[in-house]
Protein backbone atom coordinates (compact mmCIF):
# COMPACT_ATOMS: atom_id res chain seq x y z
CA UNK A 1 0.00 0.00 0.00
CA UNK A 2 1.17 3.43 -0.89
CA UNK A 3 -0.10 4.74 2.38
CA UNK A 4 0.13 3.20 5.74
CA UNK A 5 -3.59 2.89 6.40
CA UNK A 6 -4.74 0.64 9.25
CA UNK A 7 -6.95 -2.34 8.60
CA UNK A 8 -9.82 -0.52 10.27
CA UNK A 9 -9.39 2.49 7.98
CA UNK A 10 -9.32 0.22 4.95
CA UNK A 11 -12.42 -1.63 6.15
CA UNK A 12 -14.27 1.64 6.56
CA UNK A 13 -13.11 2.75 3.11
CA UNK A 14 -13.98 -0.49 1.34
CA UNK A 15 -17.29 -0.99 3.14
CA UNK A 16 -18.28 2.44 4.41
CA UNK A 17 -21.24 2.69 6.76
CA UNK A 18 -24.04 5.22 6.42
CA UNK A 19 -23.42 6.32 2.85
CA UNK A 20 -26.28 7.95 1.00
CA UNK A 21 -28.78 10.74 1.46
CA UNK A 22 -31.66 11.34 3.84
CA UNK A 23 -34.62 12.95 2.16
CA UNK A 24 -36.02 15.89 4.16
CA UNK A 25 -33.19 15.90 6.68
CA UNK A 26 -33.43 17.84 9.94
CA UNK A 27 -29.92 19.05 9.36
CA UNK A 28 -27.72 19.23 6.28
CA UNK A 29 -24.28 20.60 5.55
CA UNK A 30 -21.65 20.49 2.88
CA UNK A 31 -18.02 20.95 3.71
CA UNK A 32 -15.00 21.19 1.43
CA UNK A 33 -11.29 21.52 1.81
CA UNK A 34 -9.97 24.38 -0.28
CA UNK A 35 -6.47 22.92 -0.44
CA UNK A 36 -6.99 19.25 -1.28
CA UNK A 37 -10.36 19.64 -2.99
CA UNK A 38 -12.24 16.99 -1.00
CA UNK A 39 -15.91 17.33 -0.19
CA UNK A 40 -18.35 15.79 2.30
CA UNK A 41 -22.11 16.17 2.61
CA UNK A 42 -23.84 15.25 5.88
CA UNK A 43 -27.55 14.55 6.44
CA UNK A 44 -29.13 14.34 9.91
CA UNK A 45 -32.36 13.06 11.33
CA UNK A 46 -32.94 14.11 14.95
CA UNK A 47 -35.51 12.75 17.37
CA UNK A 48 -35.92 13.82 20.99
CA UNK A 49 -32.54 15.52 21.00
CA UNK A 50 -30.78 12.44 19.74
CA UNK A 51 -29.24 11.66 16.39
CA UNK A 52 -31.62 9.10 15.01
CA UNK A 53 -29.94 8.77 11.65
CA UNK A 54 -26.94 10.26 9.91
CA UNK A 55 -25.68 9.72 6.38
CA UNK A 56 -22.93 11.13 4.19
CA UNK A 57 -21.75 11.50 0.61
CA UNK A 58 -18.08 11.83 -0.25
CA UNK A 59 -15.88 13.16 -2.99
CA UNK A 60 -12.59 12.32 -1.43
CA UNK A 61 -9.79 9.95 -0.73
CA UNK A 62 -9.88 6.68 1.17
CA UNK A 63 -9.36 8.37 4.52
CA UNK A 64 -12.00 10.99 3.78
CA UNK A 65 -14.50 8.18 3.25
CA UNK A 66 -13.24 6.15 6.21
CA UNK A 67 -13.31 9.04 8.69
CA UNK A 68 -16.87 9.98 7.71
CA UNK A 69 -17.90 6.34 7.98
CA UNK A 70 -16.50 5.81 11.47
CA UNK A 71 -17.72 9.21 12.70
CA UNK A 72 -21.28 8.59 11.58
CA UNK A 73 -21.16 5.15 13.22
CA UNK A 74 -20.01 6.63 16.50
CA UNK A 75 -22.45 9.54 16.76
CA UNK A 76 -25.53 7.64 15.69
CA UNK A 77 -27.81 7.40 18.74
CA UNK A 78 -25.83 10.05 20.61
CA UNK A 79 -27.45 13.19 21.96
CA UNK A 80 -26.96 16.18 19.70
CA UNK A 81 -25.00 17.86 22.49
CA UNK A 82 -22.55 14.97 22.78
CA UNK A 83 -22.20 14.59 19.00
CA UNK A 84 -21.34 18.27 18.71
CA UNK A 85 -18.37 17.73 20.98
CA UNK A 86 -17.08 14.56 19.38
CA UNK A 87 -13.37 15.29 18.90
CA UNK A 88 -11.42 14.56 15.73
CA UNK A 89 -8.72 12.95 17.87
CA UNK A 90 -11.24 10.29 18.77
CA UNK A 91 -11.93 9.61 15.09
CA UNK A 92 -8.21 9.06 14.51
CA UNK A 93 -8.03 6.87 17.60
CA UNK A 94 -11.03 4.78 16.51
CA UNK A 95 -9.33 4.10 13.18
CA UNK A 96 -6.16 3.03 14.94
CA UNK A 97 -4.31 6.09 13.66
CA UNK A 98 -4.02 7.89 10.34
CA UNK A 99 -0.97 8.76 8.24
CA UNK A 100 0.22 12.28 9.15
CA UNK A 101 -0.87 13.91 5.92
CA UNK A 102 -4.34 12.39 6.35
CA UNK A 103 -5.14 13.61 9.85
CA UNK A 104 -6.83 16.69 8.38
CA UNK A 105 -9.52 14.38 6.94
CA UNK A 106 -10.77 13.62 10.44
CA UNK A 107 -10.90 17.33 11.26
CA UNK A 108 -12.93 17.97 8.13
CA UNK A 109 -15.39 15.15 8.92
CA UNK A 110 -15.95 16.45 12.46
CA UNK A 111 -16.36 20.03 11.20
CA UNK A 112 -18.87 18.85 8.59
CA UNK A 113 -20.93 17.06 11.21
CA UNK A 114 -20.87 20.15 13.46
CA UNK A 115 -22.03 22.24 10.53
CA UNK A 116 -24.95 19.88 9.91
CA UNK A 117 -25.89 20.05 13.60
CA UNK A 118 -25.70 23.85 13.47
CA UNK A 119 -28.05 23.76 10.49
CA UNK A 120 -30.45 21.61 12.51
CA UNK A 121 -30.26 23.95 15.50
CA UNK A 122 -30.84 26.96 13.33
CA UNK A 123 -34.05 25.61 11.86
CA UNK A 124 -35.10 24.40 15.31
CA UNK A 125 -34.63 27.92 16.73
CA UNK A 126 -36.49 29.40 13.79
CA UNK A 127 -39.46 27.13 14.32
CA UNK A 128 -39.47 27.85 18.09
CA UNK A 129 -39.40 31.62 17.67
CA UNK A 130 -42.93 32.07 16.44
CA UNK A 131 -45.91 30.72 18.32
CA UNK A 132 -47.48 28.89 15.45
CA UNK A 133 -50.63 27.03 14.67
CA UNK A 134 -50.36 23.51 13.49
CA UNK A 135 -50.97 24.58 9.91
CA UNK A 136 -48.30 27.23 9.98
CA UNK A 137 -45.87 24.75 11.46
CA UNK A 138 -46.20 22.53 8.45
CA UNK A 139 -45.57 25.51 6.22
CA UNK A 140 -42.37 26.39 8.02
CA UNK A 141 -41.17 22.85 7.68
CA UNK A 142 -41.88 22.89 4.00
CA UNK A 143 -39.94 26.04 3.30
CA UNK A 144 -37.20 24.75 5.53
CA UNK A 145 -36.74 21.61 3.54
CA UNK A 146 -37.00 23.51 0.29
CA UNK A 147 -34.16 25.71 1.34
CA UNK A 148 -32.11 22.64 2.08
CA UNK A 149 -32.62 21.07 -1.31
CA UNK A 150 -31.67 24.22 -3.07
CA UNK A 151 -28.43 24.36 -1.13
CA UNK A 152 -27.50 20.88 -2.20
CA UNK A 153 -26.72 21.87 -5.77
Amino acid sequence: MALNYTKKTLDNFLKPKNVGKISQPDGYAQIGNMVCGDQLDFFLKVEKGKIKDVKFLSFGCASNIATASILTEKVKGMTVEAAKKYPWQKVVEELGGLPNQKVHCSVMAVDGLKKAIADYEKSLAASKKKPVTKLKKIETKKTGSKKKTSRKK
Binding site: L3, L14, G20, D38, L40, L57, G60, N64
Partner: protein
Protein backbone atom coordinates in the same frame (compact mmCIF):
# COMPACT_ATOMS: atom_id res chain seq x y z
CA UNK B 1 -4.53 -11.53 -9.65
CA UNK B 2 -1.85 -8.83 -9.59
CA UNK B 3 -1.61 -6.32 -12.42
CA UNK B 4 1.23 -3.83 -12.36
CA UNK B 5 0.31 -0.73 -14.35
CA UNK B 6 2.82 1.66 -12.81
CA UNK B 7 5.79 1.12 -15.12
CA UNK B 8 6.43 4.86 -15.34
CA UNK B 9 7.19 4.77 -11.60
CA UNK B 10 9.57 1.86 -11.90
CA UNK B 11 9.94 -1.40 -13.77
CA UNK B 12 10.78 -4.93 -12.79
CA UNK B 13 14.42 -5.83 -13.28
CA UNK B 14 14.91 -7.97 -16.37
CA UNK B 15 16.34 -11.35 -15.23
CA UNK B 16 18.88 -11.19 -18.08
CA UNK B 17 20.11 -7.86 -16.70
CA UNK B 18 20.37 -9.27 -13.20
CA UNK B 19 22.49 -12.11 -14.52
CA UNK B 20 24.95 -9.66 -16.07
CA UNK B 21 25.14 -7.72 -12.80
CA UNK B 22 25.75 -10.67 -10.51
CA UNK B 23 29.51 -11.18 -11.06
CA UNK B 24 30.15 -7.56 -10.05
CA UNK B 25 28.81 -8.26 -6.58
CA UNK B 26 30.90 -11.37 -6.02
CA UNK B 27 33.88 -12.04 -8.32
CA UNK B 28 34.52 -8.70 -9.98
CA UNK B 29 34.20 -6.64 -6.85
CA UNK B 30 37.28 -4.49 -7.45
CA UNK B 31 37.15 -0.72 -7.15
CA UNK B 32 37.42 0.67 -10.67
CA UNK B 33 39.72 3.39 -9.32
CA UNK B 34 42.26 0.89 -7.98
CA UNK B 35 45.31 0.39 -10.16
CA UNK B 36 45.86 -3.30 -9.39
CA UNK B 37 44.51 -5.90 -11.73
CA UNK B 38 41.16 -6.50 -10.01
CA UNK B 39 40.48 -2.77 -10.07
CA UNK B 40 41.63 -2.31 -13.64
CA UNK B 41 39.47 -5.20 -14.78
CA UNK B 42 36.46 -3.37 -13.33
CA UNK B 43 37.67 -0.15 -14.95
CA UNK B 44 37.82 -1.79 -18.37
CA UNK B 45 34.24 -3.00 -17.96
CA UNK B 46 33.20 0.48 -16.88
CA UNK B 47 34.65 1.93 -20.10
CA UNK B 48 32.91 -0.79 -22.10
CA UNK B 49 29.61 0.20 -20.50
CA UNK B 50 30.23 3.84 -21.38
CA UNK B 51 31.00 2.90 -24.97
CA UNK B 52 27.82 0.85 -25.25
CA UNK B 53 25.68 3.66 -23.84
CA UNK B 54 27.36 6.27 -26.04
CA UNK B 55 26.67 4.15 -29.12
CA UNK B 56 23.01 3.75 -28.17
CA UNK B 57 22.43 7.47 -27.68
CA UNK B 58 24.71 8.69 -30.46
CA UNK B 59 27.19 10.40 -28.17
CA UNK B 60 30.79 10.19 -26.97
CA UNK B 61 31.88 7.67 -24.37
CA UNK B 62 33.65 10.33 -22.28
CA UNK B 63 30.37 12.27 -22.08
CA UNK B 64 28.70 9.42 -20.19
CA UNK B 65 28.84 10.23 -16.47
CA UNK B 66 27.32 7.72 -14.08
CA UNK B 67 25.11 8.95 -11.26
CA UNK B 68 22.80 7.43 -8.67
CA UNK B 69 19.82 8.09 -10.90
CA UNK B 70 18.09 10.79 -12.90
CA UNK B 71 17.43 13.05 -9.92
CA UNK B 72 21.16 13.37 -9.40
CA UNK B 73 21.80 13.66 -13.14
CA UNK B 74 19.26 16.48 -13.46
CA UNK B 75 20.69 18.26 -10.41
CA UNK B 76 24.19 17.99 -11.86
CA UNK B 77 23.18 19.29 -15.28
CA UNK B 78 20.76 22.07 -14.31
CA UNK B 79 22.78 23.45 -11.43
CA UNK B 80 26.19 22.49 -12.77
CA UNK B 81 25.76 24.07 -16.20
CA UNK B 82 24.08 27.21 -14.87
CA UNK B 83 26.65 27.81 -12.14
CA UNK B 84 29.68 27.11 -14.32
CA UNK B 85 28.55 29.31 -17.21
CA UNK B 86 27.14 32.29 -15.38
CA UNK B 87 28.52 35.65 -16.47
CA UNK B 88 27.32 39.21 -16.09
CA UNK B 89 25.54 38.92 -19.40
CA UNK B 90 24.32 35.35 -19.01
CA UNK B 91 22.15 34.70 -16.02
CA UNK B 92 19.02 32.92 -17.17
CA UNK B 93 17.69 29.41 -17.53
CA UNK B 94 14.44 28.20 -19.10
CA UNK B 95 12.61 25.00 -18.19
CA UNK B 96 9.20 23.69 -19.19
CA UNK B 97 6.31 23.97 -16.77
CA UNK B 98 5.78 20.20 -16.70
CA UNK B 99 9.26 19.04 -15.71
CA UNK B 100 9.86 16.41 -13.05
CA UNK B 101 10.21 17.83 -9.50
CA UNK B 102 13.99 17.28 -9.55
CA UNK B 103 14.31 19.72 -12.46
CA UNK B 104 11.77 22.12 -10.96
CA UNK B 105 13.49 22.17 -7.59
CA UNK B 106 16.92 22.62 -9.20
CA UNK B 107 15.52 25.56 -11.18
CA UNK B 108 14.02 27.07 -8.04
CA UNK B 109 17.33 26.61 -6.27
CA UNK B 110 18.96 28.65 -9.04
CA UNK B 111 16.26 31.30 -8.74
CA UNK B 112 17.13 31.65 -5.06
CA UNK B 113 20.77 31.97 -6.09
CA UNK B 114 19.86 34.99 -8.21
CA UNK B 115 19.32 33.42 -11.63
CA UNK B 116 16.41 34.45 -13.81
CA UNK B 117 14.22 31.39 -14.31
CA UNK B 118 11.46 31.16 -16.92
CA UNK B 119 8.90 28.39 -17.38
CA UNK B 120 7.65 27.44 -20.84
CA UNK B 121 3.88 26.88 -20.80
CA UNK B 122 2.21 23.86 -22.37
CA UNK B 123 -1.00 23.79 -24.39
CA UNK B 124 -4.17 21.87 -23.45
CA UNK B 125 -2.71 18.76 -25.08
CA UNK B 126 0.30 18.87 -22.77
CA UNK B 127 2.61 19.91 -25.61
CA UNK B 128 5.16 22.70 -25.80
CA UNK B 129 4.81 24.88 -28.83
CA UNK B 130 8.28 25.96 -30.03
CA UNK B 131 7.04 29.55 -30.47
CA UNK B 132 6.53 29.70 -26.70
CA UNK B 133 10.24 29.09 -26.21
CA UNK B 134 10.99 31.76 -28.83
CA UNK B 135 9.11 34.26 -26.69
CA UNK B 136 11.18 33.57 -23.59
CA UNK B 137 14.66 32.96 -24.91
CA UNK B 138 17.30 35.64 -25.37
CA UNK B 139 21.08 36.08 -25.36
CA UNK B 140 21.10 35.95 -21.56
CA UNK B 141 19.95 32.33 -21.57
CA UNK B 142 22.50 29.74 -20.49
CA UNK B 143 20.40 26.59 -20.63
CA UNK B 144 17.03 25.35 -21.85
CA UNK B 145 15.67 22.14 -20.31
CA UNK B 146 12.66 20.28 -21.67
CA UNK B 147 11.83 16.67 -20.90
CA UNK B 148 11.56 14.37 -23.91
CA UNK B 149 8.55 12.47 -22.54
CA UNK B 150 6.40 13.60 -19.64
CA UNK B 151 6.12 11.20 -16.72
CA UNK B 152 2.45 11.87 -15.92
CA UNK B 153 0.80 12.16 -19.31
CA UNK B 154 3.39 10.55 -21.58
CA UNK B 155 3.41 13.38 -24.11
CA UNK B 156 6.37 13.60 -26.47
CA UNK B 157 7.96 17.00 -27.06
CA UNK B 158 9.61 18.17 -30.26
CA UNK B 159 13.12 18.04 -28.84
CA UNK B 160 14.91 18.72 -32.11
CA UNK B 161 12.97 21.90 -32.79
CA UNK B 162 13.45 23.16 -29.24
CA UNK B 163 17.18 22.38 -29.26
CA UNK B 164 17.54 24.29 -32.51
CA UNK B 165 15.94 27.37 -30.98
CA UNK B 166 18.20 27.12 -27.93
CA UNK B 167 21.32 26.93 -30.06
CA UNK B 168 20.21 29.78 -32.31
CA UNK B 169 20.31 31.98 -29.21
CA UNK B 170 23.61 30.66 -27.91
CA UNK B 171 22.05 28.55 -25.17
CA UNK B 172 22.71 24.89 -24.34
CA UNK B 173 19.97 22.30 -24.45
CA UNK B 174 19.17 19.60 -21.89
CA UNK B 175 16.53 16.92 -22.04
CA UNK B 176 15.41 14.68 -19.22
CA UNK B 177 14.92 11.48 -21.24
CA UNK B 178 13.99 9.26 -18.31
CA UNK B 179 10.62 8.27 -19.75
CA UNK B 180 11.81 8.15 -23.36
CA UNK B 181 13.52 4.73 -23.42
CA UNK B 182 12.87 2.88 -25.68
CA UNK B 183 9.99 4.89 -27.12
CA UNK B 184 12.19 7.50 -28.80
CA UNK B 185 15.33 6.78 -30.73
CA UNK B 186 17.89 8.95 -29.04
CA UNK B 187 20.71 10.53 -31.01
CA UNK B 188 22.18 13.40 -29.05
CA UNK B 189 24.30 14.72 -31.91
CA UNK B 190 21.61 14.57 -34.54
CA UNK B 191 18.98 15.98 -32.20
CA UNK B 192 21.18 18.79 -30.93
CA UNK B 193 21.12 17.62 -27.33
CA UNK B 194 24.01 18.88 -25.19
CA UNK B 195 22.86 17.22 -21.99
CA UNK B 196 20.64 14.24 -21.34
CA UNK B 197 19.53 12.28 -18.27
CA UNK B 198 18.65 8.61 -17.96
CA UNK B 199 17.62 6.27 -15.18
CA UNK B 200 18.10 2.50 -15.44
CA UNK B 201 15.09 1.41 -13.40
CA UNK B 202 12.67 2.97 -15.88
CA UNK B 203 13.74 0.46 -18.54
CA UNK B 204 14.02 -2.84 -16.64
CA UNK B 205 17.41 -2.04 -15.16
CA UNK B 206 18.41 -1.66 -11.51
CA UNK B 207 17.48 1.19 -9.19
CA UNK B 208 20.28 3.48 -8.10
CA UNK B 209 21.93 3.82 -11.50
CA UNK B 210 21.62 6.76 -13.86
CA UNK B 211 23.46 8.69 -16.54
CA UNK B 212 24.17 12.36 -16.97
CA UNK B 213 25.28 12.69 -20.56
CA UNK B 214 27.43 15.79 -20.87
CA UNK B 215 28.71 17.73 -23.84
CA UNK B 216 32.32 17.78 -22.70
CA UNK B 217 33.00 21.03 -24.55
CA UNK B 218 30.84 22.78 -21.98
CA UNK B 219 31.90 23.63 -18.44
CA UNK B 220 29.93 21.86 -15.72
CA UNK B 221 30.34 22.47 -12.02
CA UNK B 222 30.32 19.13 -10.19
CA UNK B 223 27.71 18.79 -7.47
CA UNK B 224 29.31 15.87 -5.63
CA UNK B 225 32.99 16.34 -4.95
CA UNK B 226 35.53 14.04 -3.39
CA UNK B 227 37.84 11.45 -4.89
CA UNK B 228 37.79 12.84 -8.42
CA UNK B 229 35.99 10.02 -10.20
CA UNK B 230 34.40 10.69 -13.61
CA UNK B 231 37.11 13.26 -14.43
CA UNK B 232 36.15 15.10 -11.27
CA UNK B 233 32.58 15.61 -12.47
CA UNK B 234 31.01 13.16 -10.05
CA UNK B 235 32.89 11.83 -7.09
CA UNK B 236 32.11 8.53 -5.42
CA UNK B 237 33.12 4.91 -5.95
CA UNK B 238 31.84 3.59 -9.27
CA UNK B 239 28.71 1.49 -8.77
CA UNK B 240 29.79 -1.30 -11.08
CA UNK B 241 26.79 -3.65 -10.68
CA UNK B 242 24.44 -0.73 -11.36
CA UNK B 243 26.51 0.57 -14.26
CA UNK B 244 26.74 -2.86 -15.91
CA UNK B 245 23.00 -3.31 -15.35
CA UNK B 246 22.19 0.07 -16.86
CA UNK B 247 24.21 -0.59 -20.01
CA UNK B 248 22.74 -4.09 -20.40
CA UNK B 249 19.18 -2.85 -19.89
CA UNK B 250 19.60 -0.01 -22.36
CA UNK B 251 21.04 -2.35 -24.94
CA UNK B 252 18.15 -4.82 -24.55
CA UNK B 253 15.60 -2.02 -24.63
CA UNK B 254 16.73 -0.84 -28.05
CA UNK B 255 17.46 -4.30 -29.39
CA UNK B 256 13.90 -5.43 -28.68
CA UNK B 257 12.34 -2.05 -29.32
CA UNK B 258 10.09 -2.83 -32.29
CA UNK B 259 8.45 -5.84 -30.73
CA UNK B 260 8.05 -4.07 -27.40
CA UNK B 261 6.44 -0.98 -28.89
CA UNK B 262 4.01 -3.08 -30.88
CA UNK B 263 3.00 -5.10 -27.86
CA UNK B 264 2.54 -2.13 -25.55
CA UNK B 265 0.67 -0.07 -28.16
CA UNK B 266 -1.74 -2.93 -28.93
CA UNK B 267 -2.50 -3.45 -25.24
CA UNK B 268 -2.81 0.26 -24.51
CA UNK B 269 -5.18 0.90 -27.43
CA UNK B 270 -7.31 -2.07 -26.44
CA UNK B 271 -7.38 -0.86 -22.83
CA UNK B 272 -8.46 2.68 -23.76
CA UNK B 273 -11.11 1.41 -26.18
CA UNK B 274 -12.54 -0.84 -23.46
CA UNK B 275 -12.53 1.90 -20.82
CA UNK B 276 -14.47 4.20 -23.14
CA UNK B 277 -16.95 1.40 -23.85
CA UNK B 278 -17.46 0.27 -20.27
CA UNK B 279 -17.20 3.42 -18.17
CA UNK B 280 -19.14 6.64 -18.76
CA UNK B 281 -17.74 10.13 -18.09
CA UNK B 282 -14.08 9.49 -18.73
CA UNK B 283 -11.61 11.72 -20.53
CA UNK B 284 -8.05 11.25 -21.71
CA UNK B 285 -5.61 13.91 -20.48
CA UNK B 286 -3.03 15.00 -23.02
CA UNK B 287 -2.52 14.30 -26.69
CA UNK B 288 -3.14 10.72 -27.78
CA UNK B 289 -1.13 11.12 -30.95
CA UNK B 290 2.04 12.65 -29.52
CA UNK B 291 2.26 10.27 -26.63
CA UNK B 292 4.27 7.17 -25.76
CA UNK B 293 2.25 3.99 -26.32
CA UNK B 294 2.65 2.89 -22.69
CA UNK B 295 0.76 5.75 -21.08
CA UNK B 296 -2.88 6.51 -20.35
CA UNK B 297 -3.82 9.34 -18.03
CA UNK B 298 -7.55 9.35 -17.52
CA UNK B 299 -10.01 11.55 -15.72
CA UNK B 300 -12.88 9.72 -14.02
CA UNK B 301 -15.61 12.25 -13.36
CA UNK B 302 -17.12 12.82 -9.89
CA UNK B 303 -14.67 10.70 -7.91
CA UNK B 304 -11.27 11.20 -6.35
CA UNK B 305 -8.02 9.69 -7.64
CA UNK B 306 -6.53 8.45 -4.39
CA UNK B 307 -9.75 6.60 -3.57
CA UNK B 308 -9.69 4.97 -7.03
CA UNK B 309 -6.04 4.02 -6.54
CA UNK B 310 -6.65 2.52 -3.09
CA UNK B 311 -9.72 0.60 -4.21
CA UNK B 312 -7.82 -0.81 -7.20
CA UNK B 313 -4.83 -1.60 -5.03
CA UNK B 314 -7.08 -3.72 -2.85
CA UNK B 315 -8.01 -5.65 -6.00
CA UNK B 316 -4.36 -6.14 -6.93
CA UNK B 317 -4.22 -3.47 -9.63
CA UNK B 318 -1.38 -0.99 -9.12
CA UNK B 319 -1.66 2.46 -10.65
CA UNK B 320 -0.70 6.03 -9.87
CA UNK B 321 -2.46 9.37 -9.42
CA UNK B 322 -1.60 13.05 -9.53
CA UNK B 323 -4.38 13.74 -7.07
CA UNK B 324 -3.75 16.15 -4.21
CA UNK B 325 -4.76 13.47 -1.74
CA UNK B 326 -1.84 11.28 -2.72
CA UNK B 327 0.70 14.06 -2.39
CA UNK B 328 2.41 14.89 0.87
CA UNK B 329 1.83 18.60 0.22
CA UNK B 330 -1.87 18.03 -0.61
CA UNK B 331 -1.58 19.85 -3.90
CA UNK B 332 -2.89 18.54 -7.19
CA UNK B 333 -0.62 17.74 -10.13
CA UNK B 334 1.01 20.89 -11.55
CA UNK B 335 1.35 19.06 -14.85
CA UNK B 336 -2.42 18.77 -15.26
CA UNK B 337 -2.86 22.26 -13.84
CA UNK B 338 -0.54 23.79 -16.43
CA UNK B 339 -2.58 22.10 -19.17
CA UNK B 340 -5.48 24.18 -17.96
CA UNK B 341 -7.55 21.24 -16.74
CA UNK B 342 -10.88 22.17 -15.17
CA UNK B 343 -10.36 22.76 -11.44
CA UNK B 344 -13.11 20.28 -10.58
CA UNK B 345 -11.31 17.52 -12.47
CA UNK B 346 -7.82 18.05 -11.09
CA UNK B 347 -8.13 15.36 -8.44
CA UNK B 348 -9.93 12.72 -10.48
CA UNK B 349 -7.07 11.40 -12.58
CA UNK B 350 -5.33 8.06 -12.79
CA UNK B 351 -2.14 7.24 -14.64
CA UNK B 352 -1.88 3.76 -16.12
CA UNK B 353 1.60 2.96 -17.45
CA UNK B 354 2.02 -0.32 -19.26
CA UNK B 355 5.14 -2.36 -19.73
CA UNK B 356 6.82 -5.49 -20.91
CA UNK B 357 5.19 -7.83 -18.44
CA UNK B 358 1.55 -6.84 -19.00
CA UNK B 359 -0.86 -9.24 -20.70
CA UNK B 360 -4.29 -9.00 -22.30
CA UNK B 361 -5.59 -11.13 -19.48
CA UNK B 362 -4.31 -8.56 -16.98
CA UNK B 363 -5.91 -5.72 -18.89
CA UNK B 364 -9.25 -7.56 -19.00
CA UNK B 365 -9.06 -8.09 -15.24
CA UNK B 366 -8.20 -4.40 -14.75
CA UNK B 367 -11.20 -3.25 -16.78
CA UNK B 368 -13.50 -5.39 -14.67
CA UNK B 369 -11.94 -4.12 -11.45
CA UNK B 370 -11.98 -0.53 -12.63
CA UNK B 371 -15.61 -0.69 -13.64
CA UNK B 372 -16.60 -1.92 -10.17
CA UNK B 373 -14.39 0.63 -8.41
CA UNK B 374 -15.74 3.57 -10.36
CA UNK B 375 -19.33 2.41 -9.91
CA UNK B 376 -18.91 1.99 -6.15
CA UNK B 377 -17.25 5.37 -5.56
CA UNK B 378 -19.72 7.18 -7.80
CA UNK B 379 -22.62 5.63 -5.89
CA UNK B 380 -21.95 7.93 -2.95
CA UNK B 381 -20.39 10.95 -4.62
CA UNK B 382 -22.08 14.27 -3.77
CA UNK B 383 -21.23 15.63 -7.21
CA UNK B 384 -23.20 14.78 -10.30
Amino acid sequence: MQVYLDNAATTKLDPRVLKKMEPYFSKEYGNASSIHDLGQSAFRDLIKAKTTIARLIGGEANGVIFTSGATEANNLIIKGVALANRTEKKNKIIVSSIEHPCVMESAKFLARAGFKVEFIPVNAEGLIEPKELEKLIDKETILVSVMAVNNEIGTIQDIEALAKIAHAHGAYFHTDAVQAVPYLKLDVKKMGIDFLSLSAHKFYGPKGAGVAYLNRQVKVQPQIIGGGQEDGLRAGTYNLPGIIGLAAALELAYKERNLYLKKVATLRDYFWKKIKQEIPEVKLNGSLKKRVPANLNIMFGYIEGEAILMDLSYKGVYVSTGSACSASDLRASYVLKSMGLNKNFLNSNIRFSLGRFNTKEGIDYTIKALKATVKRLRSFSPIN
